[in-house]
């Protein structure tokens, strides 16, 4: 089991469980950098309990407000499903066009109003830092469902949960995992946040990115400071042979000044079933979804595809976050 890669329910080694008690009630979930190693493990452990338990802690009578100033169906549905599963209720809006923001209401005023009737606020906003601003105003916990290109911490928690479930060695440390990131590492916020979180664990990182879209220096420095071995690798094929986890991200055409260059690059950053022929059996491919071309459809049928299971992990992770900040566990 410790080699991992089976989609088993809770597989956390007991060694990972004894941690210092963590106070979560009333806490905002704005940025992954706000969380210590203990915090992260606490959330993952509770997510595992949420997933395995027939009747997880209930949030009956609690109300979650989803303030989506820009649409994100995926994130909103996942939070709403998590809240409903816990017995709570949901109010909210799913795009700013339908709100008073359009009439010029400030974000601060929207929060001051909503905090009076919700027990927790989940928000997504096109501006970087919007969730931090909201958290400074709100007396109820604010969970950031994405602020511009900055943070999306529940995604990072679910990524981490997915890796920990596949490879318990992430938490037990009995083996050093090799985790590869591929694609746009410069602008991809999911990989920035995940790397920040992985700094708390003993992993080896492989990075594959087109020239100009490499991982920014500040994250590389933080990883080096945390003692992670980070290696930049020239091709996807090289990564496939060595990695436990391959985390793929989208390449966006608008990042390339030359459309011909994009055309060329997008083929070298696309993973296909044929490329996986030489991969070790336990290699798992993750992706924050939606994918475009970077993962060929024929990969879906291979045992390496794990991105849909990953998305499913969003439910127990968001159940855990909601219960923790509302304070029912």
């Amino acid at each position: 089991m410790s080699a991992g890669a089976g989609e088993h329910p809770v597989a956390f080694p007991p060694a990972a469980l004894p941690f210092a008690p963590v106070q979560f009630t009333g806490r905002h979930v704005v940025s992954i950098s706000d969380f210590s190693r203990n915090d992260l493990i606490h959330v993952l452990e509770l997510a595992a309990r949420m997933e395995s338990s027939k009747s997880p802690a209930r949030l009956d009578g609690k109300l979650m407000a989803t303030l989506f100033f820009e649409p994100s169906t995926r994130t909103r549905l996942s939070f709403e499903a998590a809240m409903h599963k816990l017995g709570g209720k949901v109010i909210g809006f799913s795009d700013a066009g339908s709100t008073s923001t359009k009439k010029g209401e400030s974000l601060a005023d929207t929060i001051r109003m909503v905090e009076r009737y919700a027990d927790v606020i989940v928000m997504r906003h096109p501006r970087d830092g919007a969730a931090r601003l909201a958290s400074e105003i709100s007396t109820v916990p604010v969970i950031n469902g994405g602020d511009g290109g900055n943070q999306h911490p529940s995604q990072t928690f679910l990524d981490l949960y997915t890796i920990a479930k596949l490879f318990p060695a992430l938490l037990s440390g009995e083996r050093e995992l090799t985790i590869a990131f591929a694609g746009d590492l410069r602008y991809g916020r999911t990989v920035h946040s995940l790397l920040t979180a992985l700094c708390h664990f003993k992993v080896r990182m492989l990075l594959v990115a087109p020239r100009g879209l490499e991982m920014p220096e500040q994250y590389l420095n933080a990883a080096a400071k945390a003692g992670l071995v980070v290696q930049e690798v020239p091709t996807l094929q090289e990564v496939v042979a060595q990695a436990d986890v391959l985390y793929m991200t989208r390449l966006q055409e608008e990042r390339f000044p030359d459309p011909l260059e994009f055309d060329h690059i997008k083929h070298s950053y696309r993973i296909t079933a044929a490329m996986l022929a030489s991969a070790p059996a336990h290699l798992r491919i993750l992706h924050p979804l939606p994918r475009v071309n970077e993962i060929a459809i024929d990969v879906d049928a291979t045992p390496h595809a794990h991105y849909f299971a990953q998305a499913g992990n969003g439910i127990p992770v968001r159940q855990a976050l909601l219960s923790l900040v509302i304070g029912t566990v």
Binding site: S106, A108, R127, D128, G129, A130, L133
Partner: protein, 162 residues
């Protein structure tokens, strides 16, 4: 406002070196300004009716060429000192009373710049909502700050004062 002034401090004897800019009776001298920042510092400090003397490209043993700005009849408030810290962190400030230097100090470096500069990230929420910017100092040499909202890091020289 003279909140940085501790009256119990012994007066320092005036600088024996040859004055390169005319002395003032009461006020503030900002010395050791990096050459290219001198006019910016003068602009920042001068209010209407203030009498300001500017020395540019003066010789300095410590920094080669430097600027000096003298402002008559006024001492700097906390906000002005913060703004000065952002644009000329190496500058020194002398408070002059009756032509004597009563206190001299390097610009105090705050931990946090609050409502001092505009965040250089155009998509930062502080540039779109009526909300004060807040930037944490993450490095002092070169002066580097991190916006606590958008979490971007900037060199102080990339920022525009508010």
């Amino acid at each position: 406002m003279v909140d940085r002034l501790r009256p119990s401090d012994p007066p320092t004897s005036s600088n024996p070196r040859v004055r390169q800019v005319e002395a003032i009776l009461h006020g503030t001298v900002i010395d050791h300004i990096p050459g290219h920042m001198t006019l910016k510092v003068a602009n920042l400090l001068a209010r209407e009716n203030d009498q300001v003397s500017i020395g540019m490209n003066l010789r300095s043993a410590r920094m080669g060429r430097k600027g000096v700005v003298k402002i008559s009849g006024r001492e700097l408030d906390a906000r002005t000192l913060s703004r000065l810290a952002l644009i000329a962190p190496s500058a020194s400030v002398s408070i002059i009373r009756d032509t004597q230097v009563v206190q001299k100090f390097t610009v105090p470096m705050p931990k946090l710049f609050e409502d001092i500069a505009r965040c250089a990230n155009p998509n930062c929420v502080t540039n779109h909502e009526r909300w004060a910017s807040r930037m944490e100092v993450v490095n002092t040499d070169p002066l580097t700050v991190c916006c606590i909202y958008c979490e971007r890091t900037f060199l102080a020289t990339e920022l525009a004062l508010l």
